[in-house]
Symmetry: C2
Subunit: 238 residues, 2 copies
């Protein structure tokens, strides 16, 4: 019985194991004090995810978060200089986590086409299972990424923040995917644009599915993953 359970959830169990040794790396200029370094820091991350999902990023404030975790607004400011930086932290964490899965799941795959498909799987799927042993709820975080990610870069400060390295994780992920596209068809001229279209487009299709279902074909039967796999196949076919 336990063996069967272990088998069914083996991927997740392996990941839990690795994650307990590995730390998802977020660019350190994003925070003032590393939230992973203390109990309060972890509670800030854990509950900010839940609160942003609950009330939306626009209504989210450090004061409300403080109330939720029974802590003081001023204490949260010692970790992040603004709610915008906290969002950058959460999004960087998310993409680093996705990147980790992408690398892990596609490692050593001899068939490059299969590898690319696996990668598309990872970057376009809905997160449905939460790695319960950490303070970060990935299912909820995935929802935040769909609803709020664009807000992290659609700002007047994007160029200076980009120079500071706040978006390196995301850009690295897109490049990895783009390389996998080129591995399948080295003559395809738009590997970077296709990679960025897949990642951003998948978030968008997930959003449309929830809120504007009349302008997407994605629904409970057709996933963004399916759509983007077939789009990619066609796009890079010779």
């Amino acid at each position: 019985m336990i063996v069967l359970l272990l088998y069914l959830r083996s991927n997740i169990l392996i990941m839990i194991n690795l994650l307990s040794n590995l730390k998802i790396q977020v660019p350190d200029k994003i925070y003032i004090k590393d939230p992973e370094s203390s109990d309060l820091g972890k509670r800030i991350i854990q509950h900010s995810i839940l609160l942003i999902e609950e009330i939306g990023f626009d209504s989210f404030t450090f004061k409300k978060l403080g109330a939720k975790i029974g802590s003081n607004e001023s204490s949260i400011y010692r970790y992040f200089e603004s709610k915008h930086k906290l969002l950058l932290y959460l999004t960087s964490w998310y993409w680093a986590w996705i990147e980790y899965q992408l690398v892990f799941a596609t490692f050593n795959m001899p068939d490059k086409k299969e590898q690319l498909f696996k990668a598309i799987d990872v970057v376009t799927k809905t997160i449905e299972e939460d790695v319960e042993f950490s303070h970060i709820n990935e299912v909820v975080l995935n929802k935040i990424i769909i609803n709020e990610y664009s807000k992290s870069y659609l700002t007047k400060e994007v160029d200076s923040e980009n120079k500071e390295g706040y978006f390196v994780v995301y850009k690295r992920l897109i490049k990895r995917l783009s390389d996998m596209i080129s591995n399948v068809n080295k003559d395809y001229k738009y590997a970077l644009s296709l990679a960025s279209t897949i990642v951003e487009g998948a978030l968008h299709q997930h959003f449309l599915k929830e809120h504007f279902s009349s302008i997407t074909d994605c629904n409970k039967d057709i996933t963004p993953t399916e759509y983007f796999k077939e789009l990619t196949t066609k796009a890079i076919s010779k």
Copy 2:
């Protein structure tokens, strides 16, 4: 000489002519008082576009706008109940204007493939010439759409606002494009998703080109239009 000029700019001249008779229709629940109905209203629209482009939507306030146009904050509130509604107005106007061009430019084209290509042109290109006879600067508005459009729907109120009809113009545009895709290949299963990917994806590629050039192939030589035309061709090929 004048004839030559007329010839070169004939598309624009025809548009000016039509636009002086036609009014771009925006869902009327978006505003309290129609800004097209008064001089102050037009100045609000004209200068909000310039100010949002200048300082970004997040820093934009009605007080600052009032200062720019030598009018009072309270007067602006008589036209729009919030800056969010003003953004909805601007985006609806923009998509209605794009829709108009799409319908106009593709009308009566017998070759359905050519028609689709023309439509992709219209929805993905950078706006470079401003119809100078109106108070709306379309070149600047296009930049705002690239930087701010997502913020108009990535909110907790999206479902209720959608029910109120605030996004009808955009959805209608996507449907038109989707129909054109189906006209070329009626068996293609993802016409709606492809249409929404093209429109949203083009805005995204324009943004990347400006701010994250390392993760797009688009640049001064390769346009999002070119990328999406070739992507579409491949996607719907049998």
